[in-house]
């Protein structure tokens, strides 16, 4: 595993030279008019195309005509997207590491933290090498997968890539998207904590990102993606997914279910109690996830505009309502609202609002929060018990169920008044048949996640094996996989 990791690192470095290839000779520069210059500055405020006013009657920009405001990063949008990328990384390191780390037993706390670190490292290298290009490239000219033109992040510089943003640096956009590719597998493995080998986690991650994530993300978010109803007029399935209800939440949730079924339950599951070793850490992680989710959701506007603001508001409200809903249901069902309940509800609400946030108003966010609190509550506390699978940290219950309901409600509540882009390619569907498109998209994501994960997990089980030895599992993965202990408080350690 680690060898192939290195192989991935080294071999492509030869390719580097190419990036310096000579640009074609520039045509004679034309002088833009004041009107054109003004328009391109105004485009910055409105987050629109700064070259729109340069186009002639045929819709073409005369060669050599540009304005100083075209082709540069817009500071406010760029600032927000750098912040958003930081926030999404923060969700994994250390947000998810704490949220998950607190919920496992003390002997496995470093294990899940190491998984988060290892996944971050590995996915970054994959993203650099091929991942970004496979999702956001166009050279394959395919609705299912991107292209190879940005392998090794070639051509990904400081200027915006107008396929995805007029004002955000291409490299910032690439890093923002990387953070999504990191957190998605990191979310999945919450289902299989305490009983999967570190090497198997890394192998699974590499394959899953390439086989499931890259195609799915291209289909949903690629400018020529198959299910990108928002931006691709040629999309076959006119689904919408603002910040990753399909790509991140449903994909991770359903994959987690499959993976934990293939892996089997933890030793002693159902007999031995396995309470969280530190709800304190879990609560801290929840706070970090919530905070970071603003980068995830409002950042998915890829601009610091009013749509980002709407996503911000919807995110806040859904998270708060779902946290309260989960806790209130606990109170009704067993007389006490737990801190874990608030935390679970907040995360579930954030999951549910993810696909919807930039499309809906505050009151719709309340409904999404209610559903996003109630259904995952039911899935985690009842359904799981009935079906008996060991989804250790309820990835399916929270992300799978929450993401599924969120996608559907997005189809119900999406509102052109909130996001004018909905009018471009979807005006007929919004408020009417959009939910059917959502269902189609969800079907595709479901099939890809379940099928891909099953194939990968079975292959790995048959080859390298997925589980540690029984002794290792009993002793705890911290010691057996990493040779460390999470805590050494002994007074004799002096």
């Amino acid at each position: 595993m680690l060898l192939s990791f290195f192989f991935a690192l080294f071999c492509p470095l030869w390719a580097q030279g190419e990036s310096a290839a000579a640009a074609p000779a520039a045509p004679v520069a034309l002088t833009p008019t004041v009107e054109q210059r003004l328009a391109s500055l105004e485009a910055y405020l409105a987050n629109t195309d700064p070259t729109a006013a340069l186009k002639n009657a045929q819709g073409k920009i005369p060669p050599g005509l540009s304005t100083p405001g075209a082709g540069v990063a817009g500071p406010g949008h760029n600032a927000w997207m750098m912040v958003s990328a930081v926030l999404v990384l923060f969700m994994t390191l250390p947000g998810l590491a704490l949220f998950y780390g607190g919920l496992v037993r003390a002997k496995n706390v470093l294990s899940i933290m190491g998984w988060c670190l290892g996944i971050t490292s590995l996915v970054t290298v994959l993203w650099w090498a091929v991942g970004y290009s496979l999702v956001f490239g166009r050279s394959f000219d395919s609705p299912y997968l991107g292209g190879s033109e940005h392998f090794f992040l070639k051509g990904v510089g400081g200027a915006p890539n107008p396929n995805y943003s007029f004002w955000v640096s291409h490299n910032v956009f690439a890093m923002f998207q990387l953070m999504f590719a990191i957190i998605t597998p990191a979310v999945i493995v919450g289902a299989v904590v305490e009983r999967m080998k570190f090497s198997a986690v890394l192998a699974f991650t590499a394959l899953w990102v390439l086989v499931v994530y890259c195609p799915l993300a291209h289909m949903v978010w690629g400018s020529n993606g198959w299910m990108n109803g928002l931006a691709n007029p040629a999309a076959s399935i006119k689904a919408i997914d603002f910040a990753g209800g399909l790509v991140v939440e449903m994909a991770s949730g359903w994959s987690a279910l499959v993976l934990c079924l293939v892996l089997g339950p933890r030793l002693g599951f159902g007999k031995t109690p396995m309470p969280p070793h530190s709800l304190v850490l879990c609560m801290v992680g929840t706070g970090l996830l919530w905070v970071g989710w603003y980068g995830f959701n409002a950042g998915s506007a890829v601009a610091a505009d009013g749509i980002a603001g709407s996503a911000f508001m919807a995110t806040t409200i859904a998270a708060a309502v779902a946290a309260g809903t989960w806790a209130a249901l606990e109170f009704l069902v067993r007389g006490k609202a737990s801190v874990l309940g608030f935390c679970s509800g907040a995360v579930a609400g954030l999951v549910a609002i993810t696909p919807a946030c930039g499309f809906v108003d505050a009151s719709a966010a309340v409904w999404v929060g209610l559903a996003g609190g109630a259904l995952p509550f039911f899935a985690c506390t009842k359904l799981k018990g009935w079906l008996g699978y060991d989804d250790a940290l309820d990835v399916f219950g929270v992300h799978g169920v929450g993401g599924t309901i969120g996608m559907l409600l997005t189809g119900v509540f999406a509102d052109v008044a909130i996001n004018g882009n909905l009018a471009t390619n979807l005006s007929g569907a919004v408020g009417r048949t959009l939910w059917i498109e959502q269902l189609k998209g969800m079907g595709v994501a479901f099939i890809l996640a379940v099928g891909g994960t099953l194939a990968i997990a079975l292959t790995l089980r048959a080859t390298m094996g997925l589980r540690p030895t029984i002794e290792a599992e009993q002793e705890g993965l911290d010691l057996t996989d990493h040779g460390e202990h999470g805590y050494i408080y002994d007074s004799s350690n002096i």
Partner: protein, 112 residues
């Protein structure tokens, strides 16, 4: 000499310590333990999983005393630790053959 081992409720520790001090017994060793007995535990639920906690936090006190002090010590502890509610704990008295004070090599009752 006797080694008195008392299992008490944690919040009674301070009172027992003071009562023993008043009775002239100044040395003791204290351990955090968990007790299982008639006092019922409780059920914790983490998401869907129930988890019955029947081990309750207790504090164990060990006091080595000369034979003639043992009775007083036991009575003092019992009195100070009593709340009258279930789970108050137990006192055990064991024979103690030898005591050594490490600092001085003193042995026997003077070492206590």
């Amino acid at each position: 000499m006797k080694l008195i081992i008392a299992i008490i409720k944690p919040f009674k520790l301070e009172e027992v310590k003071e009562a023993l001090a008043e009775a002239g017994i100044e040395g003791m060793t204290v351990t955090e333990v968990k007790g299982f007995g008639r006092q019922k535990g409780h059920t914790e639920i983490y998401r869907g999983s129930e988890y019955t906690v029947d081990f309750l936090p207790k504090v164990k006190i060990e006091v080595a005393v000369a034979d003639e002090v043992a009775g007083t010590a036991v009575d003092t502890i019992v009195k100070a630790a009593k709340t009258g509610k279930i789970g108050d704990g137990k006192v055990f008295v064991l024979p103690l053959e030898e005591v050594v004070r490490i600092r001085t090599d003193e042995r026997g009752e003077s070492a206590v």
